[in-house]
Symmetry: C2
Subunit: 344 residues, 2 copies
């Protein structure tokens, strides 16, 4: 049953019914009696205004899109949960899209999202190859906020992590513990985040007076085998680093696996810091010292940006705005003093 049928049933105008049922009774000074009568009848016949009609009329859908590379990745699933939760209160629904870490899929989905004329979009771009996406975004009139990455030269809100600072945090912690030779396991060459984090590590090392070859870097992919190869490259030698930072994703698992294979005890013989706190980090053996991103806060900022954009007049130009958040370190037991104090 819809509003007009209900109106007919009650011998009232559809507008009156609409006003009451969309919560604007007092705004339009509908008499208490009529309002009650309508509410009661609506309840009885289970009538809820069809949002489709309302959307068409109002020109807004009450729904935004969330485009992530991999909902299966804890970082993104936490993000998704926080975002959905926050938007829920504003009565904004979230359409989920997963690009499977593929840029072409991401582009296709982006188009679909556009075609659906959602009210807005929060996107966590797949890779560093943001050119394709960049064009799409620029040519779209939809409010968009980018999360987890900054797309250079694009005038839109973005919320991201201060990756260099995060890397520095990890390195400083290791240096303070006495480490001189540090290894980094990278996810992939192209990852902008990994590069920044690496830069942070280098900075910290330079500030501590360490030289370039005190740092070894390996890893050319985020698959298990690629990570394992990287871990081998770092660990399978005599002058191996006394501490490893895994810059992203599941790299830590590869390092642990390889360390075990080599019989290296952690933290006695090898210290490790893992990027991205994970649900299982505290449960590992030993509990992992990790660098943790403020996921909920990132979600909050993204939502704030989005709401602001939604509130703007839709013909306003896209506004740039950048929120950069700081990571923190979760100190647990995977970092110790280096066994043999490193000699150069």
């Amino acid at each position: 049953m819809n509003l007009s049928e209900l109106a007919q049933h009650l011998d009232l105008a559809i507008s009156t019914v609409s006003r009451v049922l969309s919560g604007n009774a007092k705004k339009y000074r509908i008499s208490e009696t009529t309002a009650q009568r309508i509410l009661a009848a609506a309840e009885e016949h289970n009538v809820i205004p069809d949002p489709l009609g309302a959307s068409l009329r109002k020109g807004s859908l009450g729904m935004i899109g969330l485009l992530v590379p991999d909902i299966t990745n804890p970082f993104f699933s936490h993000l998704a949960r926080s975002i959905e939760l926050e938007l829920r209160d504003a009565n904004i629904a979230v359409q989920l899209c997963d690009s499977s870490e593929e840029v072409e899929t991401e582009a296709r989905l982006f188009q679909k999202l556009l075609a659906r004329r959602l009210d807005g979009l929060i996107i966590a771009p797949v890779g560093s190859d943001t050119r394709g996406l960049s064009d799409l975004i620029e040519n779209s009139k939809m409010p968009i906020v980018v999360i987890d990455r900054v797309i250079p030269g694009l005038q839109i809100p973005s919320v991201s992590l201060d990756n260099a600072h995060a890397g520095k945090l990890a390195a400083e912690h290791l240096i303070k513990a006495g480490h001189r030779k540090i290894g980094c396991l990278r996810g992939s060459y192209e990852s902008q985040s990994d590069q920044e984090r690496l830069r942070g590590v280098q900075e910290a090392m330079a500030e501590a007076g360490l030289k370039g070859d005190d740092l070894s870097v390996a890893g050319k992919g985020s698959s298990r085998t690629a990570s394992l190869d990287g871990a081998r490259e770092l660990l399978d030698r005599k002058d191996r680093p006394t501490a490893i930072v895994t810059l992203s994703g599941q790299g830590i698992l590869a390092v642990l696996e390889r360390a075990t294979a080599l019989g290296l005890a952690i933290p006695e013989q090898l210290s490790v810091i893992a990027f991205d706190e994970q649900p299982w980090s505290p449960f590992m053996n030993p509990p992992l010292t990790t660098i943790s991103q403020p996921v909920a806060e990132m979600a909050g900022e993204a939502v704030k940006f989005l709401k602001a954009a939604l509130a703007e007049k839709s013909d306003a130009p896209l506004k740039a705005a950048e929120k950069v958040l700081q990571a923190s370190i979760c100190e647990r037991l995977s970092v110790g003093k280096p066994v043999i104090s490193a000699t150069k």
Copy 2:
């Protein structure tokens, strides 16, 4: 720019434009020339039919809801990804809702989803207290499929795991390895899945001629502390079981943590099987033997049911249909022979 403006621009009727742009050119025998002209102009002016108008007219939104207890849980995020992926091809979008494992939230979200008049709903119910939900579902006209759980006495499609069989699988594996004293760590009393799994374990043990007190069960919650308490209860005694099955969630992490604290080597002194294969299962130390649910397949079946329901005439009664899938065991290195052959 919308269809009618484009039509005006081309001096054609809006209906013609609509027919071409919604891919029905040949169905309506639009001349090749006209069709091309429209397509070209649409391309040029970036005109895509607004799905909102179409939805209103056609009475279907091209979108379903997915209601899960916790998108952060790998099981559900995998489910979500598979479902979204499959539905994508049918041009059906997915609205994500996360009930945070709370029955009241679940009910509220369910109502919201109903109010949005989505085309259908896939729901993975939070708990065993399915009465509230049961009522809501029965009174709704929306095509719904339940996943991961069977709601007793409800005439709707459901896809679930044969949990008893899964439990049996785990127990049989342990028994074959020589274990006689088995412990189970449960997530919560109310979890229907855990109960079924436990039943499977008991069955296997009975068939192997083991007695009731060869089985110990502990655990009264899925939080970390509750799991840890359960793990203590199972492990902190002389006649501890030689093998543990963790019936759900993160229980395995608690068992590993406690075992480490007690200096129990796995699998030499304690064997473990974990429910639910996780991304990190193969990377643990030792790699974990797990019981794995066919997540993608479950998603596939749910989607199949949903599509069937969507195709039905909407005034048709809800059809019952039950698909029960089988778990499989991933044998890795966390199960070994018991050290001391168990004596009663």
